[in-house]
Symmetry: C2
């Protein structure tokens, strides 16, 4: 990332060829380290003394660019490793992205590097830059239209980490044209060694980068990725991410584009939310959030105040704020009364509408904006002044009024929403204003600043050190699964496994009627589909008849199945049925899941995920995030359910999953019967699948 | 809208004063009709001969501008009416927007105009323009930065109709800066007479306007509004609307801003959807849709093809297309095979990724794009070429390749997504390309073109001529309500109203057990809350006991209530419970409503609305739009429900509501029990509220 010497394998004298661009760029941008072109055919390349072979290099290069084809690239990496090079950036394509033969060659590339501790970026990557050093090991043509800026006054630099070269390069160019400083760009290509997570992790600790913009198609290494996100969070650096493959269509497109693993998109959402990452849906939104994040103000308690010359635009911003959950509390009443004396007929709640009166008396604008800051105390402020920002007759006075407010309150995020040509926007920006034409986009970006602030304010969580829990060799039957989960701290509905009719009757008498009877077999996972669950057995004869029925159905349904008997359980009524589960994500490991049972999960997809283990607060937040939460919270005149007990069961299940290790394929409790507050929550069924 | 003579009451010699701007604008823009300033203090105004009083005008003006304060404005309108003026544009503020006294003055303004047939725009409006005539009765300062364009080659003009002056003016300026032609702008202010609906209706029939952009805070006159939308639809002119007040916060802000009626936002959504209006959520989205709609291509069967130099951006667009329901079918296999021979390792499904190979051989781009048109047959195409669109070394060749494809297929909507400075964008646009930097925004705009096409392709619906249905004088009890709805064609669960215990037993025997018994009273609307519904009465004794229980509970709950007896009904099981209803919207009249009963409506707000009456196709579309529709469609192994019978019940209820007239406050059937396909749907409860 910060080399003092760079070798270029396959350096070209032609400054627009792939092997020529990096050298031309570094020469043009004043890279101060040693530049060592390697080219067997020329004594100099672009005027720089060249070396015929890697072995001839006068010193071990900190970094090398590999811009030669196929097997020669593999050999070059081996030679660089032997020469003591630290890292190689491999432009060469034709590796894993092209199929099996390419994947084998990529494996050889990695083998050539590993023994020497040589790190690889790529292959099949566009390269990277660290503009603070003039270091440009990259063959993008983006610089035809301008170089990156390394820093802006009062603004933090945005680092771009992208799995796609073309998209990363597009992002850099769009950010540059927008006036955003992008000191560092890294594209990771095939990620044979260095992945997106490593780059985010580096940026979290770097001085060059204060805001991290990332583009991902698929995450290869979950633990490294979450460690990088946590490092960024602890460093107070916001991460703004474009993770494509959100839709079924997009996932198919992503898979045809690269060989990435595209997991369940809701798992990705859960992981990003856990670390306070802003997931952008469009490139524009990504840039908007980066643009505002440059300012480096992340209020843990965000509120929005709006001052406007259009009441209509004020309503529009109120709609936008509500849709993203950004509070717009009203101005204090005393301040309202004062402002109303200045502009009669206005209703200075929030938004504050300066009305047409401002054209006659521009001091109204300063008075209103200052009152928003001082009386309203809003962390975020939008000033909507449409074309006034570019009006020769109005803009100078508008600037005087607003600049005084901006300068007096450097701790607030102040966005000016104006309609103006780019050169006028640049003038406002030079004064220290953040400028965004569309006020709805400004609202979304400001809301993101608050969520970053909330995330940064959270304490680092101590890694839970859970003693490992041994699992049986194969998937246990229901009774055994319940015993395992009960030991893990999940209360069970009273029940007994009964091998005989007599045992079943005795158990029912002990538990109390009515009871439920279920077939007990490790080979029958979905009992209700085969009629293997009988409800409401009210007396001993019913239990006897039920036992016989279940045996008969099991034999008819699955003649080969091992039958362990029948489970007799208390029939609990009056609870809300909840489904709890753990699924193992291939990238992020066990994910805890909670949802209201039945149609709510299947049809409405109303379910919350989070990585295991979760603590009580996180579990409750998951539960409260369900759209159907009112059903647990006293909706329709029912008593409030025991959410604390539900949360505790979720915590216990998630800790069990974290401690059980990778052999746990899945675990499910469905239903968990959540009784009214204070009466607990009890698992009525449980399945554990062991890999 | 197209006057040949204009009087200006309160004309000022100062061209930047409110009374001076319109004259200055019309002089500068070459208005060809007669301009007649009225000013008692000067012989000429801005060089134009002036008249001291309205009575002195040498001819009856087609239109007049009123730019004088308060009561003088009222007098001017009376004078103009007497002089035979056709319409007055009243800038004057201080009317209904300021409170009761102002509202009274506004009523006098209207009274002054009405007897003469003088139409009013405003008061408290910014004015309007029709740039095709140089007609500028408006005091906006927007023209400091440029005049509207009346037309662009191959593009239809966008008319702007706005209830807000400041926002309408902002929209004009933003459209102008975007390169959109806006021949007409009308702001309606307080809408004492002419409202937004009138303007939309005029635009629907005008030659100047091919696309209608509208901003609304509240609709005053529902019938006029829907007539205008239908006129636009029949004329094949898309309407793009910003209706603010979507959120609770926004509604509060809208109410403090104007005196508009802000109804249930879902009703507004339903009405706009009925007429194919695109409801934009942001100003930018509104402009995006107008920008693409200018091209005038509205495919009734829209599909999207994407050609790209970034696989990542391709995935992003696929995600966006799925989220807005725009299909991206794959290329035909033969075409895929052919393209794969040209670019190995590409997967030319759709998106088509030209890959880096295009830099070496630009003809790949033309070949790919042409194949999308010819082989893929996509109605909409996005070509994503990021900074290539501004690259001196690449752009000229890119233009050659793409221009040939564009010119060969003028029937397709071709959007170029490039990153380029405004002057370069203007060059591409001059070539006939639509240019949008953000590809996700392009996808949204293109999806809108297809929905316009679908809407335009629908036949005009004959206004249903329903014979009026008389309603009782007061709200009927449940039994009477059911009889009324049964007569309207809604099947009822078999039942009988029983005044005595003996009647109840006899009825139960006739209907067959089990039965349901419900208290029968016009004064008890919510029976279940007071224990007024008993289920599963299986024999005569249970009916007797139930009758006594219900009488006792009714007397305890509501001692004053009139008790008509008990309703005995067949207990239908195995149906899906649906809620049907009609609510009277203050603006749009009776709205039919359907949702899955219980929590689905209350917690998940899963409900569909449409204006009454609806036909069978519309009813089924409403039902299918429910998120919970799978519950009617065989989810979870249940039989498919009788959706046709449900739709028929919805049709019957909506026709009843349309025929019953404004005294029907509401009607509700909850539940309607929808049995498996072929077995019908039966109402189990009904409420009719008469105003």
């Amino acid at each position: 990332m910060r080399p003092s010497s760079v070798a270029i394998i396959g350096a070209s004298d032609d400054p627009v060829r792939i092997g020529g661009r990096p050298l031309a760029y570094m020469l043009s941008q004043g890279f101060r380290g040693a530049l060592m072109p390697v080219n067997p055919n020329r004594p100099t390349v672009q005027g720089v003394p060249a070396f015929a072979r890697v072995a001839d290099l006068p010193q071990a290069p900190d970094a090398a660019i590999v811009a030669i084809p196929g097997e020669a690239a593999v050999q070059a990496v081996a030679d660089l490793g032997a020469r003591g090079c630290g890292a190689a950036i491999v432009f060469t394509a034709g590796f894993a992205e092209t199929g099996e033969a390419g994947a084998a060659m990529q494996a050889r590339l990695l083998e050539a590097a590993r023994p020497h501790g040589l790190r690889l970026l790529g292959p099949n990557c566009l390269g990277m830059f660290n503009a603070t050093l003039g270091y440009y090991p990259i063959f993008s043509a983006s610089f035809e239209n301008g170089w990156p800026r390394t820093a802006l006054p009062r603004m933090g630099g945005v680092g771009i980490a992208s799995q796609s070269g073309a998209y990363g390069s597009h992002l850099f160019a769009a950010a540059r044209d927008r006036g955003i400083a992008t000191p560092v760009l890294v594209t990771t290509g095939n990620e044979a060694d260095i992945g997106l997570a490593d780059i985010i992790g580096w940026m979290a600790g770097s001085d060059e980068v204060q805001v991290i913009a990332a583009y991902a198609e698929g995450i290869q290494n979950g633990p490294r990725f979450v460690a990088a996100l946590e490092a960024a969070r602890r460093a107070g650096k916001p991460v703004v991410m474009m993770k494509v493959g959100r839709s079924a269509l997009g996932m198919a497109a992503a898979q045809s584009h690269t060989a990435s693993i595209a997991g369940d998109d809701r798992v990705m959402d859960a992981v990003l939310a856990e670390f306070g990452v802003h997931r952008a849906r469009t490139t524009e939104e990504l840039l908007d959030v980066c643009y505002v994040a440059q300012r480096g103000i992340f209020p843990a308690r965000n509120t929005l105040g709006v001052v406007t010359v259009s009441g209509g635009a004020g309503v529009l911003m109120s709609d936008a704020a509500e849709s993203v959950g950004l509070p717009m509390p009203p101005m204090p009443e005393a301040a309202q009364a004062r402002l109303k004396r200045i502009v009669p007929f206005s209703s200075p709640l929030n938004p504050l509408d300066c009305t047409a009166q401002a054209t006659n008396d521009m001091s109204v604008i300063g008075t209103f904006a200052e009152s928003m800051m001082v009386d309203g105390g809003y962390a975020s402020v939008i000033a909507f002044f449409t074309q006034w920002g570019a009006s020769p007759s109005i803009a100078p006075r508008l600037r005087t009024e607003l600049k005084a407010v901006l300068d007096a309150h450097p701790d607030r995020i102040f966005v000016l929403s104006i309609l103006a040509p780019l050169d006028r926007v640049r003038e406002w920006e030079a004064d220290g204003f953040l400028c965004m034409e569309d006020p709805s986009r400004a609202v979304i970006a400001l809301a993101a600043m608050g969520r970053f602030g909330e995330s940064f304010a959270r304490d680092a969580e101590a890694a839970a050190a859970l003693p490992p829990i041994p699992l049986p060799d194969t998937s246990p039957n229901e009774a055994d699964a319940k015993r395992i989960l009960e030991a893990a701290g999940i209360p069970m509905v009273p029940e007994a496994a009964c091998a005989s009719v007599e045992d079943a009757v005795a158990a029912a008498e002990a538990i109390g009627y009515p009871v439920v009877a279920k077939i007990l077999s490790p080979d029958i996972l979905h009992k209700s589909e085969m009629g293997g669950v009988l409800l409401g057995l009210g007396h001993a004869d019913a239990v006897r008849a039920g036992f016989a029925t279940l045996m008969q159905r099991a034999r008819a349904h699955a003649p080969e199945a091992r039958i362990d008997g029948v489970l007799v359980a208390k029939q609990v009524t009056g609870g809300v049925e909840i489904a709890l589960g753990v699924v193992r994500d291939p990238v992020f490991g066990p994910m805890a899941m909670v949802g209201l049972g039945g149609v709510f999960i299947e049809i409405f997809k109303d379910v919350a995920f989070r990585r295991c283990p979760v603590d009580a607060g996180q579990a409750e937040a998951m539960i409260r995030s369900l759209r159907g939460f009112p059903l647990l919270d006293g909706a329709r005149g029912k008593p409030k359910a025991d959410v604390a007990a539900l949360a505790q069961a979720l915590v216990a299940l998630s800790r069990f999953a974290a401690a059980a290790g990778p052999r746990l394929a899945s675990a499910e409790i469905n239903p968990l019967l959540v009784l009214p507050a204070g009466q607990g929550a009890f698992a009525a069924d449980a399945v554990i699948e062991v890999a």
